[in-house]
């Protein structure tokens, strides 16, 4: 715990990237807010006051991040494995792409299997069907039992109406 919070002693590139992103966000807020048409009555207490305050705060924090990056950087971190992360992100993307056409169970089956793959459980030809069955059970409980509106696909339509 305390080890991972040690500060490195040399300038940290990540800190500068984070500072740049913060400053970028602040500039987007300022730019968008400046495009708003505000009635003169609202100039002092209107809808633009708070966005400018928030953007100002972000700019100050960006400067602070640069300074702390120069002095001691962010906490030391162990390198993460990027490959499992990509599997999980891939699972989420697959679900987003499949959901409207293939339905909840099929899309969720892919999410389930690719996430398990990210945690080192191989064999997609096993885990995708397991995930689909799991997704279907969940769909029945929540769509039929609790009236949540979850998208239907061929499997759900076949099981509820008998045709695809």
């Amino acid at each position: 715990m305390s080890e991972s919070h040690k500060q490195s002693s040399r300038p940290d590139g990540a800190a500068f990237v984070i500072a740049a992103i913060l400053a970028g966000l602040a500039l987007v807020i300022i730019w968008q807010t400046s495009q708003m048409r505000v009635l003169p009555v609202q100039a002092k207490v209107g809808p633009t006051v708070f966005p400018y305050l928030v953007a100002g705060g972000m700019l100050v924090l960006a400067v602070g991040t640069v300074i702390s990056g120069l002095r001691h950087g962010l906490p030391v971190r162990t390198p993460d494995n990027i490959r499992p992360i990509l599997w999980v992100v891939g699972g989420l993307v697959a679900q987003i792409l499949l959901l409207s056409t293939a339905g909840f169970s099929i899309a969720t089956g892919f999410l389930f299997a690719l996430t398990a793959r990210g945690f080192g459980r191989g064999k997609l030809w096993q885990t995708i069907p397991i995930g689909m069955v799991f997704g279907l059970i969940v769909w029945f409980i929540f769509a039929k039992g609790l009236q949540l509106s979850l998208p239907q696909g061929p499997i759900e339509r076949f099981l509820t109406t008998g045709n695809l």
């Binding site: 305390s2 919070h5 984070i18 913060l22 966000l25 987007v28 807020i29 968008q32 807010t33 708003m36 505000v38 002092k44 207490v45 209107g46 809808p47 006051v49 708070f50 966005p51 928030v54 953007a55 705060g57 972000m58 924090l61 702390s68 962010l74 906490p75 971190r77 162990t78 993460d80 494995n81 992360i85 599997w87 999980v88 992100v89 699972g91 989420l92 993307v93 679900q95 987003i96 792409l97 959901l99 409207s100 056409t101 909840f104 969720t108 999410l111 389930f112 996430t115 990210g118 945690f119 459980r121 885990t127 799991f134 969940v138 929540f142 609790l146 009236q147 949540l148 509106s149 998208p151």
Partner: protein
């Protein structure tokens, strides 16, 4: 009517069988998520919000409170047997608790944690019942500028006061505040930062953000962590019962823990993790056997466990009486109230008194249920720890996306013939954000609190400025606001001074991110 009368009425309502069932579901789910590493009470309440949309408001809120309390109980089990805290407030419990389990005294460690949580929950809930009406009376005299000062104080304590870097805490907070700007401004009807996307007009959903940051972010961080496979679950060996010696050493620690935890939760001076750490230091100082600390001292489990439950009850004081969430779980519970059209604050006590008192009374009931669930049934909870990680996290992601689709199932984006859910894309984007924040040790809770509290703070600020016709000095006109700003300055200044005086190590250990 006096507090006793109101509380008695609340108890009658809490003991109705529907409410008992809601409380039971809440504490069971809460214990389960507390036990499972990687998911905490904040995430569970966020996932359940869309599901409870059509249920009874009172019952749903009782269930959420049960989850909150249950999460505090369950977390200790994981710390003691796995040496990995189930949730952040149990980090300290792991220090002594895991040592006790390794020495074959896991049973008494679990018992003192459960009974201590019960004692603390009981005392702190009663304290909540008696302090809340008093705070409400006081809060009714607050003007907009006082409320704004109060929110500034909450921002500061949530993000900067404890934790190891005020800079990173404030950065998280401002990300949340920035996200809170998105959508139609309710006072002027103007659109802000929506970039022409219709889905953004209603603003960012608190539940989507919370589920993404907690569930997706945590999953990405865990699967990317090369050291994730080095854990072993310790079996509970030997007697589960505490010896007379254990009781004698535990009860003063429970009371001290409660006395430390409740005010810290109520003040608002940070989350439960702060209080459990302070309770641990207190036990170390007061112990007659300081040599046992680090080798499995039972006081080191009893004190912090009592403290984190007491502080969970404490956080309900500002939440219910002022509408001010000071932890991520409280922020999401606030979203739960709003989902049912209820606004926590002094007026809630006036307009919805039966609901508020039923909620407070049901906490007493939930606390008793938790003691029963946790002492004899501990073996069942331990088995949850043996669920393989790949199934666990795959399941978590299924439920995370399920809640999001359930809350908003419109497929508003079209790429060619394929229609996509905007809400799910947001979930993915914020999930990656959550991973990046974790990777670089930025705390998560301030983002969620910033999103929900930012628009409320803006409303109070503009009210105050409208009354004064744009004169900013109005913010410093009342004694209440001046006191609140002074406390806020101390809350930021004190840790910085400590750090400069070389006491930074203490603060590093206080740093944690969730719930």
């Amino acid at each position: 009517m006096d507090t006793f009368g109101l509380l008695a009425q609340g108890l009658v309502s809490a003991l109705q069988w529907q409410n008992l069932i809601y409380a039971f579901i809440g504490v069971t789910l809460g214990t389960a998520v507390g036990v499972l590493p990687g998911i905490g009470p904040a995430l569970t309440v966020a996932l359940l919000l869309p599901v409870t949309y059509k249920l009874d408001p009172g019952g749903s809120l009782i269930m959420f409170a049960g989850i909150y309390y249950g999460g505090m109980y369950g977390g200790s089990t994981t710390s003691i047997l796995l040496n990995t805290p189930g949730e952040s407030t149990s980090i300290v419990t792991a220090i002594e608790g895991n040592k006790m389990a390794r020495a074959g005294r896991g049973g008494p460690a679990l018992a003192t944690a459960a009974i201590g949580s019960f004692v603390a929950g009981l005392i702190a809930t009663l304290a909540l019942a008696f302090i809340a009406p008093w705070v409400v009376k006081f809060a009714l005299s607050f003007g907009p500028s006082d409320y704004f000062a109060l929110m500034v104080l909450a921002f500061v304590t949530v993000s900067a006061a404890f934790g190891d870097s005020a800079l990173r805490g404030l950065t998280s907070l401002f990300i949340g505040l920035g996200l809170g700007l998105i959508g139609i401004d309710l006072q002027s009807g103007q659109t802000r930062l929506a970039f022409g996307i219709p889905d953004l007009l209603d603003g960012i959903e608190v539940t989507t953000l919370a589920v993404a940051l907690f569930a997706i972010g945590e999953t990405l961080k865990t699967c990317g962590d090369p050291e994730q496979f080095k854990e072993e679950v310790l079996a509970v060996k030997g007697s589960v019962w505490m010896t007379i010696e254990d009781w004698r050493r535990s009860w003063p620690a429970w009371l001290r823990g409660t006395a430390i935890g409740f005010p810290i939760g109520a003040m608002p001076a940070g989350g439960a993790d702060v209080s459990s750490f302070l309770a641990y230091s207190a036990e170390k100082t007061f112990s007659k056997k300081p040599e046992e600390f680090g080798k499995g001292a039972i006081e080191g489990v009893a004190g912090p466990e009592a403290a984190n439950n007491a502080s969970a009850a404490g956080t309900l004081v500002p939440l219910l009486t002022l509408g001010l969430p000071t932890t991520a779980t409280a922020a999401i519970m606030l979203a739960g109230f709003q989902q049912f059209g209820l606004q926590p604050g002094p007026l809630l006590f006036a307009n919805n008194a039966p609901l508020v008192w039923a909620l407070i009374a049901s906490l007493l009931v939930a606390n008793l249920m938790l003691l029963v669930l946790n002492l004899p049934l501990i073996g069942m909870w331990v088995r949850l720890l043996t669920i393989p990680k790949h199934w666990l996290y795959a399941g978590i992601l299924v439920f995370a996306t399920l809640g999001t689709i359930g809350a908003n199932s419109t497929m508003s984006i079209a790429i060619g013939p394929v229609r996509l859910s905007f809400e799910l894309i947001l979930l993915l984007v914020f999930g990656v954000l959550g991973y990046i924040l974790r990777r670089y040790s930025y705390p998560i809770a301030p983002v969620v609190v910033g999103l929900i509290l930012g628009p409320m703070a803006e409303q109070q600020l503009r009210r105050a400025l409208a009354i004064s016709q744009g004169d900013w000095s109005v913010l410093f006109h009342t004694p209440i606001s001046l006191v609140l700003y002074a406390v806020a300055i101390v809350a930021v200044g004190l840790p910085i001074t400590l750090r400069l005086r070389g006491r930074g190590a203490v603060l590093h250990q206080l740093a944690s991110d969730e719930d």
